[in-house]
């Protein structure tokens, strides 16, 4: 299985390493041509303002939008989730908005880096063992639409912030985390994404454009 990792800026290496540990072939994607032949794509963590500019100048914004409409599955973490969300609070008016995920998110919703944290996170469908979830200047998901499945909620944030808020979301072929599953060495969320990609290709499931 070949997965493209958008490699404009951010923690590309960790996503590629996680996917390759699971037996997938990965390819860094910096141009529209590099999307050809990938069966799924990852939007990594990074700075969403920077990623927005680079997505636009590289032509990947339009190329990805087209691919998403064709049903290309996507795993998005942190900044990636912000780019996919329908409604972004505290974002720049000109930032890229793929709008595939029916969610309202607030950038840096937990505060500055001193409030970044890690926590044991129970995830639906991944058994009793929690995922060690790392939140770095993370977005806070404030609301989700009816078509979004919430796979995990934050048990307790730093200083009680964001308690009970959704942190792992799925909508059709979109799997989006406000934390960084690629940073903890626990590959179960990437494994779920690869399973989703494999099943999606047989069921012909399509994303809502």
């Amino acid at each position: 299985m070949r997965i493209g990792v958008v490699a404009l800026q951010g923690d590309v290496t960790e996503h590629r390493a996680a996917l390759e540990r699971l037996g997938a072939e990965t390819r860094p994607v910096r141009t529209p041509a590099q999307l050809a032949g990938v069966e799924g794509v990852v939007l990594p963590g990074g700075e969403s303002t920077t990623l927005s500019l680079l997505l636009r100048s590289s032509g990947l914004e339009q190329a990805l939008l087209g691919a998403f409409r064709e049903g290309l599955p996507v795993l998005a973490t942190c900044a990636g989730l912000i780019l996919l969300a329908r409604d972004v609070l505290d974002g720049r008016p000109d930032q890229v908005r793929f709008g595939l995920l029916d969610a309202q998110v607030r950038r840096n919703g937990f505060g500055r880096q001193v409030h970044s944290f890690e926590v044991d996170l129970p995830v639906a469908g991944l058994g009793d063992r929690p995922v060690r979830a790392v939140f770095i200047r993370a977005p806070l998901v404030e609301a989700v639409g009816p078509d979004v499945a919430v796979l995990a909620r934050l048990p307790r944030g730093p200083g009680g912030r964001g308690e009970g808020s959704p942190v792992l979301l799925q909508q059709a072929g979109v799997l989006a985390a406000s934390f960084h599953p690629e940073l903890s060495g626990d590959d179960r969320i990437h494994e779920r994404f690869l399973r989703q990609v494999a099943e999606g290709t047989t069921s012909g499931q399509r994303l809502a454009g």
Partner: protein, 299 residues
């Protein structure tokens, strides 16, 4: 789940500190001295800004003791942008670092660009929730800083010169020593630790992984998009640009061009395209004309 049974969220772990450095990879961190410059940097695609009172070129020109910036300036810059804001503390000046942590800066640069406050000791960075970046000229220096708790290493280069030669020297020194260490026999690692004046467990970690345990960024003397492409190809994972942007003729365009070149460092056609017509770069100085080598600060 009942709140009292909920697992505790832990701030300030090494993974959380290093995690922000991971998110900055492939990006450009720009020195700014006003909120207006911070906005220009953010609009150009900076992944973070370094809030300063004077860029290194001016510190060099004006002389005197260079200290932590005025907290009011740092706060004004924090209000101006949504990207991470870093600030510098003097080497060993843990009280300045405490102030910067109280201001909730996102990263502290314990920097040789400021006048050192301690000639023997760096800050104990484990004692802080805010992560630290430190400069290094060699693998041994990098590992000593990591042992003290730094979550990110940058080459020192020679700040404020617009001359990339020292940054190249430091990057080649660090990556070359890592390559040599990674093929050394296991029993040779003790002598490596002694020679590097670095803790054995860190030396072993680098030998096994073939890389530093934290990201390696480049700083000091980057002035053009091609400079950024050069250091990225030499193994830097992101770049700091100090005086190079706001000491040039057209800061907004140059900043944007350096951002593009840092992402597309392997594509000379893109680096060529963004390098066109940027106007005058910062003037720059030859290293043998320098009265003071900032890179020699740090122990």
């Amino acid at each position: 789940m009942a709140a009292q049974d909920a697992p505790t969220a832990t701030t300030g772990t090494f993974r959380v500190k290093r995690g922000l450095a991971d998110m900055l990879r492939g990006g450009v961190i720009m020195d700014v001295v006003t909120p207006e410059q911070a906005k220009i940097a953010e609009d150009a695609g900076a992944v973070a800004v370094m809030a300063l009172e004077r860029v290194p070129a001016d510190i060099r020109a004006q002389g005197g003791v260079a200290r932590m910036s005025d907290p009011a300036l740092i706060e004004a810059i924090q209000r101006a942008v949504t990207i991470p804001v870093m600030a510098k503390a003097r080497i060993g000046h843990f009280a300045e670092a405490q102030v910067l942590q109280a201001l909730q800066v996102d990263y502290i640069d314990e920097s040789e660009v400021l006048t050192p406050a301690d000639e023997a000791h760096h800050i104990d960075k484990w004692a802080f929730t805010v992560p630290f970046v430190c400069g290094a000229t060699s693998l041994g220096e990098a590992l000593r800083r990591i042992a003290e708790g730094a979550a990110l290493i940058r080459s020192k280069g020679e700040a404020g010169t617009g001359n990339v030669v020292e940054a190249v020297r430091h990057l080649r020194a660090i990556t070359g020593e890592i390559r040599a260490l990674s093929v050394a026999r296991p029993e040779e690692r003790y002598a490596w630790a002694k020679r590097l004046a670095a803790p054995l467990p860190l030396v072993e970690e680098v030998a096994e992984a073939g890389r530093l345990p934290v990201p390696l960024f480049c700083a000091g003397g980057i002035a053009t998009p091609a400079d950024a492409a050069l250091v990225m190809q030499l193994g830097a994972e992101a770049v700091f640009v100090g005086s190079g942007i706001f000491k040039s003729a057209d800061p907004a365009r140059r900043a944007r061009a350096i951002v593009e070149a840092t992402t597309h460092f392997e594509d000379p056609a893109i680096v060529a395209k963004v390098s066109k017509g940027l106007g005058e770069p910062m003037p720059g100085v030859e290293l043998d004309r320098l009265e003071q080598r900032l890179a020699e600060r740090g122990w």
